[in-house]
């Protein structure tokens, strides 16, 4: 147990250096050593390691922050030994003292947040070795579940879900309200494009969206003063006939291509999707298909049919058709400036028209948090913002009539509700990785995180704050979160069996007790195996309920012996 410090070490700028120096000095003068925990869930191993995550950019900034917190706590980790060589790479556990943090990053593990090929799918492929990576990947940042399509065998990837999110469709409802300039460029030749997503049709003023609710001549529009009906819900009901499919996936005559089909539906009973075209094509952004956000949204718009990605009907105009990064519309300002450069006589109107007629999708958590990421600045300095579809109704971000909220995300009733994961491989995870991932999942339940001496806050509060406030309004999931959001569990090892039967020269080990015990962590492929007659190192190659095979055959026979299992390499 760590004793609480009562003094501050000095100015913030020199705090880190001073802390290291002081800790090592006190180590030399220490009294008796503290008890050092090992094994699950903290996985302390007594030496410094570097671990690396890669993949999702939805969670990039968040994981960078959590990694920083973990490494900060390592400043008060073990006292490093001057010997053996290389110097200061192992822990002098005998030098632990009252200031040593035994609960957080005792081993002073350094965590890298990779910026290589971005995307949840890419992170999983790099973890599985399907794609190359500039540096080894120990865990994948992922905003979608683990998938065997990324190269790892079934069951060898485990996702620890630490956050909950949703992916609403976004539009740009108020664009061009400040412009009102006639556009001359194709495809809006000669017309002014107003806030089409708000129900603007060519006979309306470009500021019709500012009209009070109920001011429209169309009784079906209860939101503003436009003559059309605002596009307020994205439905995937009806398979290939759904609005979502027809927007994103259809390539035949059923495809919805014009904003009027969505909004110019009159005052009668014309359904959304069957309105009259108004000459304003829908510009669908071309989002990175390696993205977990894109994958989640693609699953929704497929509507139960086949739709590989959301980019089938992407715009060739917006950003000149190039792939855009997820969760950021400020890049569209750069796109608009390039798509309609200074030589364009009606540049302002064309840029506004392009953005006004665009559709995109966004992490709900990032959208709520990052104002800059949802704001577009045009070349003339005017700004506009993305809107969750239907955000002026009782169901913001509406999908199939369901709005995004903490409740609908947690119970998965929101159609694009999703979990944010860190994914590891059971057959290759290192103890230092297990320690970091367990640190994220535990909510001060199995062990108490220490106090961040920079802020005075408990590290666990800071992890919660990072997840729920600073880098997204995601909902934190912990080891004690109830089902169906209970995947953030400690990485532990299977219990030992005392009735293992081993035969010299055979790779088979049997046990009547069994290797898949109810309520216990099961033995998995890749586990380190120890026992009499089992060579070192030896690992689980295959496993069933009562029999497993080793990667190397036994060297002695024994019946009823104790066989133990451990994480892949407890010394890493």
């Amino acid at each position: 147990m760590r004793n609480r410090m009562t003094r501050r070490w000095g100015a913030a700028a020199s705090l880190g250096v001073a802390a290291i120096t002081l800790a090592m000095t006190l180590g030399a003068q220490a009294a008796s050593a503290q008890s050092v925990p090992t094994g699950s869930p903290r996985w302390f191993i007594g030496k410094v390691n570097t671990i690396r995550g890669a993949g999702s950019d939805t969670t990039f900034f968040l994981m960078q922050r959590i990694s920083d917190l973990y490494m900060q706590s390592g400043l008060f980790g073990c006292t490093l030994s001057q010997t053996p060589s290389p110097n200061y790479s192992t822990c002098n556990t005998g030098a632990d003292n009252a200031t040593t943090d035994l609960n957080d990053n005792y081993d002073r593990v350094e965590v890298m947040t990779g910026v290589g090929q971005i995307g949840s799918g890419e992170g999983q492929k790099q973890l599985c070795g399907t794609d190359s990576s500039p540096f080894p990947v120990d865990f994948a940042r992922s905003s979608k579940p683990a998938s065997t399509s990324n190269g790892c065998s079934n069951g060898s990837m485990v996702g620890l879900g630490f956050g909950k999110d949703g992916v609403p469709l976004v539009d740009f409802e108020a664009s061009n309200s400040n412009m009102g300039v006639t556009g001359a460029s194709s495809p809006w030749a000669g017309i002014t494009v107003g806030p089409v997503a708000s129900g603007w049709i060519p006979s309306d003023s470009v500021t019709c969206d500012t009209g009070a609710p109920g001011s429209s001549s169309n009784p079906r529009n209860t939101q503003n003063g436009c003559s059309g009906v605002p596009f307020s819900d994205l439905s995937n009901s009806g398979g290939t006939a759904s609005i979502a499919y027809r927007l994103y996936c259809a390539t035949d005559s059923t495809r919805i291509t014009d904003w009027g089909q969505l909004t110019n539906i009159g005052s009668g009973s014309t359904p959304v999707g069957s309105g009259t075209s108004i000459g304003v094509p829908i510009q669908i952004a071309n989002v990175n298909t390696g993205s977990g956000t894109e994958s989640t949204f693609a699953g929704f718009v497929a509507s139960g049919a086949t739709c590989a990605t959301t980019d089938i009907n992407h715009s060739s105009l917006l950003c000149n058709g190039a792939v855009v990064i997820e969760n950021n519309v400020s890049q569209f300002g750069d796109c608009a400036a390039a798509d309609f450069p200074a030589s364009d006589a009606t540049r302002a109107a064309d840029q506004a028209a392009e953005i006004a007629s665009s559709l995109y999708f966004f992490s709900n958590g990032v959208f709520n948090t990052n104002v800059h990421a949802k704001t577009v600045t045009f070349s003339n300095g005017v700004t506009t913002a993305a809107h969750k579809i239907g955000d002026k109704t009782a169901n913001p971000g509406s999908e199939d009539g369901i709005g995004v909220s903490n409740t609908t995300m947690l119970n998965n009733s929101y159609p694009t509700a999703r979990t944010l994961y860190n994914i590891y491989r059971t057959d290759s995870v290192r103890a230092s990785v297990a320690g970091f991932l367990d640190w994220i999942c535990d909510g001060n339940n199995l062990f108490q995180k220490g106090t961040d001496l920079q802020t005075g806050q408990n590290f666990d509060s800071e992890v919660t704050s990072a997840i729920q406030s600073q880098f997204g309004t995601f909902i934190r999931l912990k080891d004690n979160t109830a089902s169906p959001n209970a995947s953030c569990q400690m990485i532990t090892v299977a219990p030992a069996v005392a009735d293992g039967v081993v035969t010299s020269g055979s790779s088979t080990v049997t046990s009547a007790t069994g290797f898949q015990q109810v309520g216990q962590t099961p033995v998995v492929v890749g586990d380190l195996v120890t026992g009499t007659g089992i060579p070192s190192p030896d690992y689980v190659s295959t496993v069933t309920a009562n029999s497993l095979t080793l990667t190397a055959p036994a060297t002695a026979s024994s019946g009823g012996e104790t066989v133990t299992f451990n994480i892949h390499d407890p010394n890493s």
Partner: protein
Amino acid sequence: MAIRGKGFTTVSPITRLAAMAAVCASAALVLPLAGTAGATAAVTIPAGNPADGQTFTVTGTGFPTPTADPSGLQILECSDPGGTTTNLPTDNSGCDAISISQGFIGTDSSGNFTTKYTAMLLNSGNSTINCDQTHFCVLWVGQDYLNQFTSGPHAFSRAFEIGAPPAMTPEAALVIALPVVAALIAGGAYIVARRRRHQVPANA
């Protein structure tokens, strides 16, 4: 209670006071209570303490116009120990954005807005702050809680304790109650006026 005065029957002062009290009570059900403003912004919420999950109206004045703030406003819950203005948070670490409003909150051309907000019980089980029966909280309303918590346009509501008495009147109940109260008052006034018209002079 009617008092027979000289020549006429009049309404007693007690009856007049009762009628006035009814009018004041119905007004109090909707009378918003203002919070603490930034430079010019101000936020008001109804009287009483909301229950967990209760939706109520939030109104504001003095915020940026749509041209200046196209992304709209944000509302989230922040800790306010003791419910005093001196303990209002000075940065966003005293708030939890898991309580953030999900919809778009836009202002009119004068910087005013009216919107709905749903209260969320916060405690150690789901948050870094406590907003419950024994811990005061406030609503922070502003443009960018992450980067401009106090430097940007913002205001705090008055303090409240989620689930504590006195309860905030559900707005659905108000929709029903207010017309009823108004009808009772109007009916009472009619009866009094009618009695006066039909009063028989004492010497008839």
